[in-house]
């Protein structure tokens, strides 16, 4: 319920200020979560009319990104930088229905306009390399081994003209650690460059300390229904779940410490053997928060011109929740009773206080359409299995979705071992096997899970051993497997205005330990194997080209031969004189070699 609330309310707020033509808008939604977290959702939207975009007149739309997209002929781009894990059990449905979420690391999917496959691939490479430079992320490593072409998982969200020949590419770089060097270019794309407005709250120390965070960039052409001309829209979103306790730790002393004894409140329902034991109650359940606690700073001024009557800062909780602000500002309360939005002062500092209150005043936790968990089974570094648990919590509705997985090439799945715990749940299957060192395997399944059931999907795979130079510097850490993407095809929510909006979920990534050779041994291996081969070849070659003679018929050659002859004759003489029976026979036999 909440995410649809998000979309609906943001749209409605923006329509209040001529959505189709407003060049820039921003919004921050703070939603307290149970027990003591806050979901902070920053949304920045800029437009440029299609004609000014094509002529490279950039005002609010960032020039750096626009020129890259034009150079690579990318008509629609979705870029995600994520870290952490969304706890669906505690927090419910993902924000924006998961449409602005990405897998851990960097995830990018784009539609490129090209006349042929090869040209599209080249443009995709160009795009990745340029974006790697712009965002200081190693996206140049998204080569053919990390690229896939999903069939039904992603649909273009923008309005493209029917004549264009669009190719979808999806790339994931799970190993990338997202940090401040990715945040800074992200903020530089904004018109106010993160200096004023809600973007002034964003700080790398707090953002990347969050339990879960996603930075997303969506660029697409939009043609509004009122025929006012197509625009190129860029939407930048940062979602983060901040733990209030953790945010309150001072930066100079971030070590968590236990409460002093006098502030410790013990659970009275338990038996204690003596006075020195205590089961502390989870008092972090209720915390008050200010923007300075959460973000380390307060909002400096406003990035919007005062003529726009917008309310950028919203709190998504029941209207009965008490919220205090530094200035008396215009407020807008939504009719649903679960959202209120505040205007920002143009130049002053803005601070917000939400004192500790009952959880009942928070937004009710929504049930996601499906819970998914994926893990690797098996032991050893030769083979393993993947097991995915898909749980449908709804008691009445089946849930249909597309499960998309892109596996690296060194993980070789055996699709003939694919098993489901409930029969007849896989409606369709698309599988493209991977080629060694060229591309990974791609699996897309259309699955329907019946109401209230848990579906277990499992299959075996085999691990490949890599060449010496293909291992990363820390070879025993293992390699990363990109998260699986689930696209819900029919949402179980009963809000009718979002039937067309797909919901997305992503699983966590996997760590795949691979068998490693001994890295200190390249020279030793070469010489040892060559020795064995030389022994075999040499022995056989010698045998084939030499002739046989009797041991004594061979003439001993050289100094060594003479010495041996002398020594053997001395030995024979000694033996003759010592042995009791004189042996007869004209020839003495030498030891054969």
């Amino acid at each position: 319920m909440l995410p649809t609330l998000f979309c609906f309310l943001v749209l409605s707020l923006l329509t209040s200020s001529c959505y189709a033509l407003s060049d820039y808008s921003e919004q921050l939604v703070l939603q307290p979560l149970v027990p003591a977290s806050v979901l902070a959702s920053f949304n920045f939207r800029s437009n440029a009319s299609q004609s000014s975009y094509n002529q490279q007149h950039f005002q609010y739309f960032p020039r750096s990104l626009g020129q890259i997209l034009q150079h690579a002929h990318a008509k629609e781009l979705h870029l995600r930088f994520s870290s952490g894990r969304w706890d669906a059990e505690s927090w419910g449905n993902r924000p924006w229905n998961g449409t602005k979420e990405g897998g851990t690391g960097v995830e990018i999917w784009t539609w490129i306009d090209a006349s042929s496959e090869e040209e599209a691939l080249m443009q995709w490479n160009t795009l990745n390399n340029a974006l790697a430079g712009l965002f200081c992320a190693s996206m140049n490593f998204i080569d053919s081994t990390r690229t896939s072409r999903p069939l039904s998982t992603f649909e273009p969200l923008g309005n493209h003209n029917s004549g264009s020949n669009l190719h979808l590419f999806h790339g994931a770089l799970t190993r990338e650690v997202v940090c401040t060097e990715n945040l800074t270019p992200f903020l530089k794309l904004l018109p106010c460059k993160g200096k004023v407005g809600i973007a002034s709250l964003l700080d790398g120390h707090k953002l990347f300390d969050a339990t879960w965070q996603t930075m997303s960039i969506d660029v697409q052409p939009v043609c509004p229904a009122d025929q006012s001309g197509c625009v190129m829209e860029i939407e930048q979103t940062i979602d983060m779940v901040l733990d209030i306790d953790r945010s309150k730790r001072p930066r100079g002393d971030p070590i968590p410490r236990p409460l002093p004894d006098d502030r410790l409140i013990c659970d009275q329902n338990r038996q204690y053997p003596d006075e020195n034991s205590c089961y502390p109650l989870d008092l972090s359940a209720a915390q008050d928060l200010t923007l300075k606690d959460l973000f380390g700073r307060s909002i400096q001024g406003s990035c919007l011109s005062p003529a726009d009557s917008t309310y950028p800062v919203c709190v998504a909780a029941s209207n009965s929740l008490e919220v205090y602000t530094t200035n008396a500002l215009a407020e807008y309360k939504a009719t649903s009773g679960y959202l209120r939005c505040l205007a920002l002062p143009e130049k002053d500092e803005f601070e917000l206080l939400i004192p500790k209150q009952d959880h009942a005043r928070f937004l009710p936790v929504s049930t996601p359409p499906i819970y998914v968990e994926r893990s690797i089974t098996g032991r050893g570094q030769e083979r393993g299995g993947i097991r995915v648990l898909l749980r449908n919590p709804s008691p009445t509705h089946n849930v249909s979705f597309v499960y998309f997985e892109a596996l690296p090439w060194f993980m070789k799945p055996y699709m003939h071992t694919l098993k489901t715990s409930i029969p007849n749940t896989i409606d369709e299957m698309y599988y493209r096997p991977g080629l060694d060192r060229k591309r990974g395997s791609q699996l897309e399944l259309a699955i329907t899970v019946p109401a209230n059931q848990i579906l277990e999907l499992s299959y075996d795979f085999e691990k490949a051993i890599l060449r010496y130079t293909e291992y990363p510097p820390d070879a025993n850490r293992g390699r990363d497997v990109a998260p699986a993407v689930i696209r819900i095809v029919n949402a179980t929510t009963n809000t009718s205005e979002h039937v067309g909006v797909a919901a997305y979920l992503r699983t966590t990534p996997l760590m795949l330990p691979l068998p490693t050779p001994d890295f200190s041994m390249p020279y030793n291996v070469i010489i040892l194997t060559s020795t064995v081969i030389a022994l075999a070849f040499g022995t056989i070659y010698n045998m084939l080209i030499r002739q046989f003679v009797g041991a004594d018929e061979a003439t001993s050659e050289g100094l060594k031969g003479k010495i041996i002859v002398a020594l053997v004759s001395v030995r024979n003489k000694i033996r003759d004189s010592l042995s009791p029976v004189a042996t007869t026979g004209p020839e003495r036999e030498k030891k054969n070699i």
């Binding site: 085999e462 010496y468 041994m521 194997t529 064995v532 075999a536 056989i540």
Partner: protein, 419 residues
């Protein structure tokens, strides 16, 4: 008892042993299929099942990195319905083992091993009976384990034995076609073409000295024609030539580096990329270099040359397994008459036993326990390779000495040297 009755009893006992193992221990076949000593990427039964799965669903199995086996195997196995797949394949592999043993009996019955057309060994009367040779093959633990693990190299093993027995019986055309099928399944039996042609030539010219080059050329052409026909059939079955790069290309260029009992995998893992092509060329050249020398030097004993080449294949191919070793160990008892002449029996026997015992243990330590590293298993592959090649080398020495003693009969049992 009649000879036929003895043979039937032997075959029944061997079949019964395998059937019991298949039925009483149902997880044993999959256990052996999963072991690297039995299955290699180009012969693995599990990969065959995966290829079959993709093939029956109209996805090209050659467009992936899992399946490296030739297409006609897919057509053969696709005739078996899914419900009885495991039973029928078990019976198929047991049947192949028995057919291989039958071919071995025919080879032993011909008594050609000491008594070839141009060469009569002075010791040729010291030999084991054909049924003893077949029993040694059928009850060899390596053979039984290969049968349970069901690698597709059993097909080429049978084809090689069939080719040798048909060549001995004078049916050269059949022999060449059998060899072409073996070479189609895995590339290496093509190396046996020259010795096998010489063997067939000797048999068909009945001991008349002189090389009929027309015979050789005709049958070599037949070989290439048969292989081309098989390639053409594969093209029809799969609809494209991409199986070429996937099956033979993979073996030539060693794309898949899965550990096995051979010498290639670790060498090419640890190698830097700029030297790959050079060493691939060197290793292939090394394997090919034995045929010419052996065929020329031992021209009068082409059967021995064929058997020796089978043994050298077992050590020096990119993806060897114990099924290659088991076919050599099955053919080796035919040469009992040279056993007394072999010099260092103790060394290589113990080396082979040592590696058979420690190989699986060290592999487990590396892959599962994590307390050993790859060098342990690599060392075992070195010992195995060395032991096997010493065995082959010793047998060559013994044969050469036996040959020499025909010209110098007074040197029997006397020590000799080579210069």
């Amino acid at each position: 008892m009649g000879r036929l009755l003895q043979q039937v009893l032997l075959f029944a006992a061997a079949a019964l042993l395998r059937l019991i193992l298949f039925l009483v221990f149902p997880s044993l076949p999959d256990f052996f299929t999963g072991r690297v000593e039995v299955s290699t990427p180009v012969t693995s039964f599990k990969r065959l099942q995966e290829g079959l799965f993709l093939y029956t669903r109209n996805v090209s199995p050659y467009d992936g990195g899992v399946f490296y086996q030739p297409p006609l195997l897919l057509t053969l196995f696709s005739f078996i319905p899914d419900s009885i797949f495991t039973t029928v394949t078990a019976l198929l592999y047991i049947g192949l083992d028995l057919a291989s043993a039958q071919a071995l009996i025919e080879i032993a019955d011909s008594k050609l091993s000491g008594h070839e057309l141009f060469y009569k060994s002075p010791r040729r009367h010291s030999r084991w009976g054909s049924l003893a040779v077949a029993a040694a093959f059928l009850f060899n633990p390596l053979t039984v384990i290969s049968c349970l693990g069901r690698p597709t190299s059993i097909f080429s093993n049978y084809a090689i034995l069939l080719a040798i027995s048909k060549a001995i019986q004078g049916k050269t055309g059949n022999a060449i076609i059998a060899l072409s099928m073996a070479a189609y399944q895995s590339m290496y039996p093509a190396i046996l073409l020259l010795p096998l042609l010489l063997l067939a030539h000797d048999v068909s010219t009945q001991g008349i000295i002189g090389t009929d080059t027309g015979f050789l050329v005709r049958h070599a052409a037949l070989f290439f024609g048969a292989i081309s026909a098989l390639f053409g059939l594969s093209y029809l079955v799969t609809g494209s030539w991409e199986f070429f790069a996937s099956t033979y290309g993979n073996q030539l260029l060693l794309v898949d580096l899965t550990p096995n009992i051979g010498l290639w995998w670790y060498f090419f893992i640890e190698m830097f990329d700029s030297f790959r092509e050079f060493f691939l060329g060197v290793f292939w050249l090394h394997l090919l270099s034995y045929v010419g020398g052996l065929s020329v030097r031992l021209r009068t004993q082409p059967l021995f040359v064929t058997i020796t080449m089978v043994g050298l294949i077992a050590v020096f191919i990119p993806y060897p397994s114990i099924s290659n070793a088991s076919i050599y160990l099955g053919l080796f008892p035919l040469y009992k008459h040279i056993f007394p002449l072999m010099r260092t029996t103790f060394i290589y026997t113990t080396a082979l036993l040592y590696s058979i015992v420690l190989g699986p243990a060290f592999y487990y330590l590396w892959i599962y326990a994590g307390s050993g590293n790859a060098n342990f298993f690599y060392a075992i592959t070195l010992v195995w390779g060395l032991g096997f090649s010493l065995l082959i080398g010793d047998s060559i020495w013994a044969t050469l000495r036996d040959e020499w003693e025909v010209t110098r009969p007074e040197m029997k049992d006397k020590p000799i040297r080579q210069i």
